[in-house]
């Protein structure tokens, strides 16, 4: 078994070898490690992407906007990922972002995951039929159980989720009632003695 440290180092060096800058390669190393930590096949997908890198001129993206369409070439997932991460504070204001065509989209996910941590917000991402929720870089929730090599996604929608609860007030009250059963009803005597201030705490 290869350790995460080895995966990070080899991914970084391999990315550098394809002409990415050292700084970008460091990001890719960390992101591949993150995917493997989440049991997603980052290394496998990066390997395929880099193998195809020279013959397919992937589209680099610099400034991300609300709609990022491309007619021809697929976007480079590293370029989209790094730009997304760097520009995240500005992108949050857009509420949702669309892309068309991202190559090896799995490689884009860890950048979004890290962005979720920076924002302190969950991020929903739909890549064709596959859906993911990135939870503050702590976990990735998905409707897809098996991913191997994932060559491309054509329609990508990213939504920043507000920090809402998954339950309603009624459910809260019901649970709160259960929780209150761990408390002791105070008698007059207890009220006087147990808090230390007597029946009045006025100055």
């Amino acid at each position: 078994m290869r350790s995460l440290s080895e995966i990070d180092t080899i991914s970084k060096r391999a990315t550098r070898a394809k002409g990415f800058s050292w700084g970008i390669s460091e990001e890719v190393g960390k992101c591949t490690r993150l995917l493997e930590l989440f049991s997603l096949p980052g290394f496998k997908n990066l390997n395929q992407y880099l193998k195809n890198y020279d013959q397919n001129k992937f589209k680099q993206i610099k400034l991300i906007s609300k709609n990022n369409n491309t007619d021809g070439k697929y976007h480079c997932p590293i370029s989209v990922g790094v730009s997304f991460l760097d520009q995240i504070k500005m992108l949050e204001k857009l509420n949702s972002i669309e892309f068309s065509k991202i190559a090896y989209p799995l490689l884009f996910l860890p950048f979004v995951s890290r962005a979720s941590e920076i924002l302190g917000k969950k991020i929903f991402i739909k890549l064709d039929e596959k859906e993911f929720i990135l939870n503050f870089n702590h976990s990735i929730f998905s409707n897809t159980s098996k991913i191997e090599i994932w060559k491309n996604a054509n329609n990508i929608l990213i939504t920043f989720l507000e920090n809402d609860n998954s339950f309603n007030e009624n459910e809260w009250d019901e649970m709160n009632k259960f929780a209150n059963e761990t408390f002791l009803e105070e008698s007059k005597e207890l009220k006087e003695k147990s808090a230390g201030a007597g029946l009045t705490d006025n100055d």
């Binding site: 078994m1 350790s3 080895e6 970008i24 460091e26 790094v82 760097d86 500005m90």
Partner: protein, 552 residues
């Protein structure tokens, strides 16, 4: 009275870092403190009469067990090399998490002796190999088998029976990643498991040499005297492989140096020094001079440094005899005197020994020596160019003065050797391959970054700046790290013609707790670890200033 922390601009120069010495903060000393109440045992010792075979040693406490698995193999003289490029060694070791099963030992037997080309699992924590000292090992065997203790003079000259040539950890070759074990309280300090491996290897070398000598002449044999064994350590030869570490781990570098600097500041701020505190300092200093006198090296560079150090240490002892021990802020006065009167090597030596009487101050900082590096990896890209410019001007002002158009300032490049996957240094004007340069020329790249920053709009965000300047992303990251961690960067040129790579090695090794630095060239050196340390059966009750008693 408030004493200012020494400035990183003064301390983070390579020539200064190369003057650092072991101290109470050193990892091998804090390892012994941490593990002193663990149970030590030798669980397996199956060596043939020549000392070849396997052995297992362990430390255990509650339900946690760490086991060193040792393999000693026959090595022909022509196969022996202490250089990292060697492929066979006298002995190879792995530290296993738990009790190794027979299956584990069989698996390790197939892989550990192969070192870099073998594969380990996440059940293994550290990996190493070592060679017998050709200057000493056979002579000690001969003495013991003849019923005599070995010649102390010779032992003192070498200092160890075995020398390791590499100690690997943190995920290398399949070993466990740091994140798997970092929350164990006993492993909070850096390099704890590397220290444990070396410490247990030291015991193996004593057991093996006794075993060989006994088999050679069972009737006359005597066991190596424990007092003599205590005065022996484990040698280590270290080359350039270690140098990039302190560049690649900036927050860790900061935490090591900053802890040392804060401790120094606190000691200088103590108004009243108790008599016994001064005595501890004075005793440690006086005893340590004998260690310096026994410091052997063939290197003229080091010989000169030792000569100057010895001279200044004697001058310091003379001065200390004249000080008024009741003087307020005594250690500040001593420091200020030393700043003007002794060389940097001696000044840093004194800083280390200042710590000896002050457990209460030092212990708090031992816990701060690790770092959660990933926390500081992401670039705060919402910040602006003016922020970055301020950081560069405030923290890197010395580096910004360098002119990299001058050939001498740009002479070297760091690369990774294909054969051994080890860092190397080449002259970019003489050898081909500088296009494969590693990102270790921080001074040059920071300067480049500054030149681009000063022509950028102040209000531009870092995100916008990076769109056109992604080739400098690695140093943008570092700049935002130094803002939080002022001692995180070597403020010197790591590619100039005046670079002495051993300064980088010596700095790191001083934090390990190594002594007797013996440069073999400007790129590698020999050292000794655990010389004078208590043996495992003495750990329950030992003097934490043992390092000053070694070979006295």
């Amino acid at each position: 009275m408030e004493v200012q922390l020494r400035s990183p601009k003064e301390i983070m120069k390579l020539s200064r870092l190369g003057c650092f010495h072991q101290s109470k903060l050193s990892f091998l000393r804090s390892f012994l403190e941490e593990f002193k109440d663990w149970k030590y045992s030798r669980d397996l010792f199956e060596l043939n009469k020549d000392g070849y075979g396997k052995a297992v040693y362990s430390f255990s406490k509650n339900k946690r067990i760490y086991s060193l698995v040792c393999f000693a193999n026959e090595l022909h003289e022509e196969e022996r090399s202490d250089r990292v490029i060697a492929t066979k060694w006298d002995a190879a070791f792995a530290l296993h998490d738990g009790i190794p099963s027979k299956r584990d030992i069989d698996r390790l037997y197939e892989n550990v002796p192969k070192q870099e080309v073998g594969r380990l699992s996440c059940k293994e924590l550290t990996l190493s190999r070592a060679n017998r000292s050709v200057r000493l090992f056979n002579k000690v065997v001969a003495s013991l088998s003849e019923g005599k203790q070995p010649d102390k003079k010779l032992l003192s000259k070498v200092g160890y029976l075995y020398r390791t040539t590499a100690v690997y950890g943190s995920g290398k070759f399949g070993l466990a990643d740091r994140f798997r074990i970092k929350n164990r309280p006993e492993l909070k300090g850096p390099f704890r498991l590397e220290m444990m491996l070396v410490y247990l290897v030291r015991q193996f070398t004593f057991d093996q040499i006794n075993h060989i000598a006994q088999n050679k002449n069972p009737k006359k044999f005597v066991k190596l005297d424990e007092k003599i064994a205590k005065g022996l350590g484990i040698g280590n030869s270290t080359g350039l492989g270690m140098a990039p570490f302190i560049i690649n781990h900036p927050t860790l570098l900061n935490n090591w140096v900053q802890s040392r600097e804060i401790i120094l500041k606190k000691i200088r701020e103590i108004k009243i020094i108790e008599d016994d505190q001064f005595s501890i300092f004075y005793d440690c200093l006086s005893k340590s001079i004998i260690n310096v006198e026994n410091w052997n090296t063939d290197s003229d560079f080091q010989k000169n440094k030792i000569k100057k150090l010895l001279n200044d240490l004697n001058k310091t002892v003379k001065y200390l005899k004249t000080v008024d021990k009741k003087e307020k802020y005594l250690f500040n006065a001593i420091y200020k005197w030393a700043e003007n009167e002794v060389c940097q090597e001696c000044l840093e030596y004194l800083v280390s020994i200042f710590m000896e009487p002050f457990n209460d101050i030092v212990n708090d900082y031992k816990k701060n020596m690790s770092s959660d590096e990933d926390k500081y990896f992401t670039i705060p890209s919402h910040r602006t160019i003016i922020d970055l410019r301020d950081i560069l001007e405030n923290y890197y002002s010395e580096l910004l003065k360098l002119d990299f158009n001058i050939k001498e300032n740009n002479k070297n490049f760091w690369f990774i050797s294909k054969n051994k996957e080890e860092p190397r240094l080449g002259n970019r004007f003489e050898v081909k391959g500088s296009e494969l340069e590693q990102p270790l020329a921080i001074a040059r790249d920071i300067k480049k970054l500054y030149e681009r920053v000063i022509v950028s709009k102040n209000s531009k965000t870092i995100a916008e700046f990076l769109i056109e300047n992604d080739d400098l992303r690695h140093v943008v990251r570092r700049a935002f790290i130094i803002e939080k961690f002022p001692y995180s960067e070597i403020l010197d040129n790591t590619i100039g013609d005046k670079l002495m790579p051993i300064d980088m090695l010596r700095f790191k090794l001083s934090f390990f707790g190594a002594v007797k630095f013996d440069p073999r060239s400007d790129k590698w050196l020999r050292i000794c670890m655990f010389q004078g340390a208590p043996l495992p059966n003495q750990l329950k009750n030992f003097d934490d200033k043992w390092i000053y008693d070694s070979l006295n």
